[in-house]
């Protein structure tokens, strides 16, 4: 097993830490018996990294992602994102963090069916009180970036699964978060669309977005720069496949 703290290359050490999780635990009572979904896990992610968390079903990877995204609260431990301890945030602060601190992409897209693609992307910016003109411009910019510039006015039911997931990614990036968290982003997509999605994530990462994905998809895992293996709620391996300086190419 590789020491998770020694996973980054010497050259990447100069990049600031985006995420630092220390001894994170999460317990759930199941029929009165506490079940440990995450057991004393520690993880660092630096700016510009693309980390894929892999492991068998039920190993706690989605739970970990929810903890990192302040969707759930750990039973113990510390999670810092850009220096802010998100593990202890109250509801309002956690909500604010989710709005501007991280971007979340879900397996099932979860776009608002009554809004257009552009409006879905605008939704978090509207909540962050971005002026209308600015958010409309950014929404179109993001949609163009993900290859859907011509579909801005289409509703989700008019888009394919892959297109919906692209919109979801654009939405996640709307408020320029420090970290993009993606839970099985290719889980609902066919192989070809999945490959396109992976290429998009790769481009995002090369353009500087820090990404943490949870996945069963081997192709996605191999595209990531670093792969963290989990089992039974703990990290069992942490492999850097491509150093950070390789991103410059």
């Amino acid at each position: 097993m590789t020491d998770p703290h020694a996973s980054s290359s010497r050259a990447a050490d100069v990049r600031p830490l985006v995420l630092s999780a220390r001894d994170v635990r999460r317990e759930y009572p199941v029929a009165g018996v506490p079940v440990q979904a995450v057991r004393g896990l520690s993880l660092d992610v630096r700016e510009g990294e693309w980390v894929a968390i892999v492991g068998p079903s039920g190993c706690g990877k989605s739970t970990l992602l929810n903890l990192l995204g302040a969707i759930d609260r750990p039973s113990a431990g510390r999670i810092e994102i850009r220096g802010e301890d998100v593990a202890r945030l109250g509801d309002a602060a956690a909500t604010r963090f989710r709005l501007t601190g991280v971007g979340f992409v879900f397996q099932r897209f979860y776009l608002m069916p009554t809004l257009t693609a552009a409006e879905n992307v605008e939704l978090p910016m509207s909540e962050a009180k971005v002026p209308r003109a600015a958010r409309e411009a950014r929404a179109r910019e993001l949609l163009a970036y993900v290859g859907l510039g011509q579909r801005a006015d289409h509703r989700p039911f008019q888009l394919s699964g892959g297109e919906q997931q692209r919109v979801a990614i654009a939405r996640a990036l709307a408020n320029r978060p420090a970290l993009l968290l993606a839970d099985e982003p290719t889980g609902e997509l066919d192989a070809r669309t999945g490959t396109e999605m992976i290429a998009l994530l790769d481009r995002l990462n090369r353009d500087g977005t820090t990404i943490v994905t949870v996945t069963h998809d081997e192709e996605l895992a191999s595209a990531a720069r670093r792969v963290v293996h989990m089992r039974d709620g703990a990290i069992v391996d942490d492999v850097v496949k491509r150093p950070l300086e390789d991103l410059a190419r």
Binding site: S62, G69, R98, L99, T100, R108, L115, E119, L123
Partner: protein, 397 residues
Amino acid sequence: MMLRLAFATLVRRRARTALTVAGVTVAAAMLLDMVMLGSGMRESFRGFIEQQGFQLRITPRGTMPFDSETTVGGAAALAERIAADPDVVRVAPLLGTRIFTRRAADDSVTAGFLLGLRPEVQGDYVLAEGREIAADDEMVVNGAWLAATGHALGDTVEVAQGWEPQMRRLRGARTVRIVGRGRFVMLAGGERAAALRIGTVQAMGGDALRDRASVMLVATREGAAIEAVRRRLEASDPRISALSTAAALKFVDERLSYFRQLAFILASVSLAVGFLLVTTLVTVSVNERLGEIAVMRAIGVARWRIVAQVMAEGVALSLVGAVLGVGLGLVTARWLNGILAAFPGLPAAFDFFLFEPSAAFRSLGLLVLCGIAAGAWPAWRAATLPIAQTLREEAVA
């Protein structure tokens, strides 16, 4: 954007939204009608009384105006005594009895209501045509009397205060000229009526009606303490009762208390129905969108925004229903008023359902408040969903 989402959610399910709005509309219409009914009778009656311009009514002891054929004697002296009160500016004695007219065409006799009054101070009819009574042998009648007798304005006619059916003989007859046609404000629609000077009617009635009056209308000076005047007048003569506007309204309230109670019960039921409809729709709508709502929370939409969006749906349904309900309520009020207008003896211009904008706004505002309350529980439920668990459950579902 939240309002846009709320609106879009309602529009997404058109049929159910339309049905809910229809239900709220009917509830709002019923609520408006019951509010109109609850206050309409009283305010309509108040309008009548105040229209006449008199604050007190003097009647034979223990009776209501024209509730029976009882009269009080010594009317002239009584009127003088009342007029001498420093707070009294005008006294209008009235004598109600029967009028009989023989139709020349078929020798049939038409009966009606005859009101003896002082034309210069009267407030019992509004002239629609012709002129006011200026002499002892001049008469004002209403349209129903003209239609029944076949006479017209300007005609000279023989009228009588009594009719002996066995002998087919008019008693207390008098030849008079019809100088005006008026609308008798206190009479039921279709009731035939005529007015003559009170002295003429008293003379026609012979000994039975000499110097008698059924009611005296009293106008007080501005600023006078009406209750004090009332007590004073009532105490001055054991044969009379003095009735203020407030007492008359109280009497009407008691007589028509059934309708007020019915109005209250039906208004409450309407509010409850409106509330149930809106809360059911909003609850179902939230239940269908748990995943969406959890995601909104996950991407950083604040709790209060979720609550606002969900409650906006409830408010929108109630508001649209309330606005449509006003129109429907006015239509049904007309229909119901038409039914109740057939009450025997009811003044023709009396309204059971009177539209008062302030009352309407209050009641419909109450309905919208109900809409707000109806959305509150499902809204709170939506906003306090455990995000991770909900996302998991929705993914499994």
